[in-house]
């Protein structure tokens, strides 16, 4: 999946490169969200995370988020990169970068993007513990 603004990748995400992508002389603000792999959930040690993606659909749904955000806020540039495969503690699972003329819109657009991504984009996360594993949010 090679696209400059929407990307789902087996490779480690280059946070600096994604930030550089959205720089714009007409933007006074860049907001970046980085979702990282936490070492515990509810007191249990997490060994690693495994992400699976329905790439064709995930790309479309992420593009919809960017399209919607651009209708709601005066966005100069926006990029959303998601990792898949096996991730170690501390690694970036998702990077969202957005530039806007003023800061308020960049904060709001970035929050909208991560909140919506978590609800609509067909990507699944499995937490692997020392004594088992669980697909996150699968069961009520």
């Amino acid at each position: 999946m090679v696209d400059k603004w929407v990307h789902i990748s087996d490779d480690k995400l280059d946070e600096q490169a994604i930030m550089a992508l959205v720089r714009s002389d007409s933007a006074g603000a860049i907001d970046v969200f980085i979702g990282t792999v936490r070492n515990s959930t509810k007191g249990k040690n997490v060994v690693r995370l495994e992400f699976e993606s329905y790439d064709a659909m995930a790309i479309k749904e992420i593009q919809k988020i960017i399209d919607q955000a651009k209708m709601k806020w005066p966005i100069e540039k926006m990029a959303i990169y998601h990792r898949k495969g096996v991730l170690s503690i501390g690694e970036a699972a998702v990077v969202i970068a957005v530039s806007t003329p003023h800061r308020k819109a960049s904060f709001e657009a970035c929050q909208y993007a991560i909140d919506t991504l978590k609800e609509t984009v067909p990507i699944w996360k499995k937490e692997v513990f020392e004594d088992g594993e669980v697909w996150v949010a699968a069961h009520p």
Binding site: G35, Y54, K118
Partner: protein, 81 residues
């Protein structure tokens, strides 16, 4: 009757123990009928928080019609980010 192939992801793969499976549908060929058949064949899907159906990589409502050439996928609760 119509045979459709269904792609699986995440916990769906573990429930069926495969990355896709085939199912026979009786008319009307709608998303609602498909979901019902899946639940009958694999009741464990009923334990999930939700099961959405995607048709040609778009979320599909219950009344959407399915044809044999469509790409169908079961979407268990997503958890990206």
């Amino acid at each position: 009757m119509m045979n459709v192939k269904i792609k699986l992801f995440g916990i769906g793969k573990e429930i069926v123990n495969a990355s896709e499976f085939d199912i026979e549908l009786a008319a009307p060929y709608t998303v609602a009928v498909l979901r019902n058949e899946v639940m009958v064949k694999y009741p464990s899907f009923g334990d999930l928080r939700s099961v959405m159906i995607a048709v040609n990589s778009e979320y599909a409502a219950d009344d959407v019609q399915i044809v044999a050439s469509d790409e169908i996928a079961l979407i268990p609760p997503v958890s990206g980010g």
